[in-house]
């Protein structure tokens, strides 16, 4: 009964769908090591650039036949044309990189990513784009392939399992986000409370600080800090938190400002409560705690966005560690080839988790507005 009542309020669908995605994400981040068949840094040289498939899944789908197949191929097989495929993508990467990114940046970039760009394959006057336009005859997989691996989402050019890389990426995306929340809310809420409760000089000062922060584009400020100190996700998250402080403090300030002349605040003052207690308990916890959760959810979404984007720009999580942005950066040219799964699944993971947090915050916001209107 209560559930039906809840589902009828505005924003409930967004809350449920966003919450489900976040619970799934948290599950993978916490229990990821028990779920995966492979380690995220384990290079499986037998299965390089394998398309997504799984013997486990197959045995469920094809029952008896699948089980027979499994039994028949328990001895490890050497993968078919694994080498050819590997070289073709490497060549594709290197060729395009030389073509379009030939400058000092590309050199330092390849040294950072530590990718193997050694390549002995000769082009023999082939058209450079033949890999992209014509499907290579050699790479055609024979019709009857017996699968003996559990790479649900396929493997990349080093034979690493995409699925376990995604699970490892969930951890590296969520932890810094919590840090950004801590900075943004830990500074923004006290500033907003003080500005709204005392008003006057305090409000002026806080407004000046806010406008100073707002006059820098977020990424430019982050890049300055990275340039000055060193590329590190946690510095990035501190700066991100600081750039969110104006929004949070302004929101809290306007809400507290309207509340601070109300009867319950005056009553609390008369009964001898200290200003700190009034602000922390009555103005923040009793009146504004929903704002706290809404903002925390939105900040998590923004932090995933910033973390993946910066990892893509090579200033966030560095290659031995895995982040979703990192995977896409490392094999970004797979978007133009038949090896879609290397970049497709990380992109989906990024989009789903960002939308999950956005929807949760949005739904909570709609619910809050609805309850306050009543």
């Amino acid at each position: 009964m209560k559930l039906i009542k809840f589902l009828k309020t505005p924003g409930s669908i967004r809350i449920v769908s966003g919450g489900a995605v976040i619970i799934l994400l948290l599950f993978f981040a916490v229990f990821g090591d028990f779920v995966c068949f492979y380690q995220s840094n384990e290079m499986d040289s037998d299965w390089i650039m394998e398309p997504p498939s799984s013997s486990l899944l197959r045995s469920f789908l094809v029952t008896e036949k699948g089980l027979k197949n499994l039994k028949r191929t328990t001895t490890p097989q050497v993968s078919h044309q694994g080498n050819d495929r590997d070289n073709s993508l490497d060549y594709l990467m290197e060729g395009l990189e030389e073509e379009f990114f030939n400058d000092s940046a590309s050199e330092s970039q390849s040294s950072i990513s530590g990718g193997t760009t050694d390549n002995q394959q000769e082009t023999d006057g082939e058209d450079e784009f033949s890999f992209l336009t014509n499907k290579n005859e050699k790479t055609k997989v024979p019709q009857e392939v017996i699968v003996t691996h559990n790479h649900f989402f396929g493997t990349d050019k080093d034979g690493r399992d995409i699925f376990s890389m995604l699970v490892a990426g969930a951890k590296t995306s969520l932890l810094p986000g919590l840090f950004a929340c801590l900075v943004a809310l830990g500074l923004g809420i006290p500033l907003g409370l003080v500005g709204g409760y005392y008003g006057g000089r305090w409000a002026e000062l806080i407004r000046f600080i806010n406008s100073l922060i707002l006059s820098f584009p977020r990424f430019v400020l982050i890049l300055v800090v990275i340039c000055a100190i060193e590329p590190n996700v946690y510095y990035v998250m501190i700066v991100l938190g600081l750039t969110i402080v104006p929004r949070v403090s302004e929101l809290i300030r306007t809400r507290v400002h309207t509340l601070s002349n109300m009867g319950f605040v005056l009553a609390a003052k008369e009964s001898g409560l200290s200003d700190f207690k009034i602000m922390a308990r009555h103005l923040f916890w009793y009146q504004n705690r929903t704002v706290f959760f809404i903002q925390a959810s939105l900040i998590m979404a923004e932090s995933i966005l910033v973390e993946t984007t910066l990892s893509y720009l090579q200033f966030g999580v560095k290659p031995p560690d895995i982040s979703w942005g990192n995977i896409i950066e490392g094999s970004r040219l797979a978007f133009f080839s038949e090896y879609y799964w290397i970049t497709f699944f990380p992109a989906v993971a990024i989009v789903i988790s960002i939308l999950g947090f956005f929807y949760l915050g949005d739904g909570l916001n709609a619910r809050l507005a609805y309850r306050e209107r009543r």
């Binding site: 100190i229 993946t308 942005g325």
Partner: protein, 309 residues
């Protein structure tokens, strides 16, 4: 009387503008001073260069020299190859300018008609679905949108839209080379969703107002009554989105391999080229402050309530 008041507000706002720009420059300078070691050690500069760049002076003097030089449009030299920074800025500014203005224009072009349609029509399920779809699409990170769009273009037209088209004019290569980054920046980055949302809510909010009801019952044109209350909050959103757009430019220029200010910033960060990044940051902060100032003055002249007190 009125003139005097306007002048007083103008003077006050200009004072705030100058003060905040000085504060911004101080902030940038202090962040760069946080670097472990110093610039001369990192780039192993020659003593003559150190003297020329005033790096041997105490910090407060360095700041004054730097700010003074910036006022005369001398932003120092690139520490990697010694090119003056203003030459670099001039060389790269065109691309970025085109990208920023173009994508802002395009996202306004897409979002304004949709928002007006959604705002005027009654609240309905389909309207909600449309606005949430737009909001979801625009909250996808720019680099994901960029690669998806590039992949689709490659799949359909069989060419790689990152190469500058040369020689004979062919429609698709030329159009995709110049339009795609603008399109990606306009779609992604959250700008589109934010515009639709804010404008829709403002229009809906305004149409509940009593003066609209009165105008409707008088039978006069409604447009005039809608424009002022809607355009003031919308302009402030447009100005605040410029900052976000500049963030997006860094990513888009990297995806599409364009040499613009975003690329310059990226490369400067990689090479720890302090003077370049200080100049870029200071100039973007200046640009955004000036835009905010213009928006505030415009709101002041449009909204009589602000003028009163």
């Amino acid at each position: 009387m009125k003139q005097k008041q306007i002048l007083r507000v103008l003077a006050k706002k200009t004072g705030q503008l100058i003060l905040s720009i000085i504060a911004a420059s101080l902030l940038v300078f202090l962040i760069v001073q946080l670097t472990p070691g110093n610039m001369a050690e990192i780039h192993s500069l020659a003593p003559a260069t150190i003297e020329k760049l005033n790096l041997d002076k105490p910090i407060w003097l360095q700041y004054i020299y730097w700010l003074g030089n910036c006022l005369t449009l001398n932003f120092g030299v690139s520490l990697t190859d010694g090119t003056p920074v203003n030459e670099l800025l001039l060389q790269y500014a065109g691309t970025t300018f085109g990208l920023t203005i173009g994508s802002m224009f395009l996202s306004l072009l897409i979002s304004v008609p949709i928002a007006i349609l959604l705002g005027i029509s009654a609240e309905s399920k389909s309207g909600k679905v449309i606005s949430s779809i737009i909001y979801s699409i625009s909250s996808i990170p720019v680099f994901v949108v960029g690669y998806i769009v590039l992949g689709i273009v490659f799949g359909v037209f069989k060419f790689y839209p990152l190469v500058m088209p040369e020689g004979e004019f062919e429609f698709w290569p030329w159009v995709t080379y110049y339009i795609l980054p603008i399109f990606v920046l306009a779609i992604g980055n959250g700008t589109l969703g934010e515009f639709v949302r804010v404008l829709m809510l403002e229009i809906r909010h305004t149409s509940h107002a009593l003066y609209i009801k009165a105008a409707r019952s008088r039978g006069t044109s409604l447009l005039k009554h809608y424009i002022r209350p809607v355009i003031i909050p919308f302009l402030s959103i447009v100005v605040s989105r410029f900052a976000v757009l500049i963030s997006g430019v860094i990513v888009v220029e990297r995806i599409f391999n364009r040499r613009g200010l975003g690329w310059l910033t990226w490369e400067a960060t990689l090479n720890r080229d302090f003077f370049v990044i200080m100049a870029v940051t200071l100039l973007t902060a200046l640009l955004i402050r000036v835009l905010m100032f213009a928006q505030e003055m415009l709101a002041y002249s449009l909204d009589p309530r602000l003028r009163k007190g």
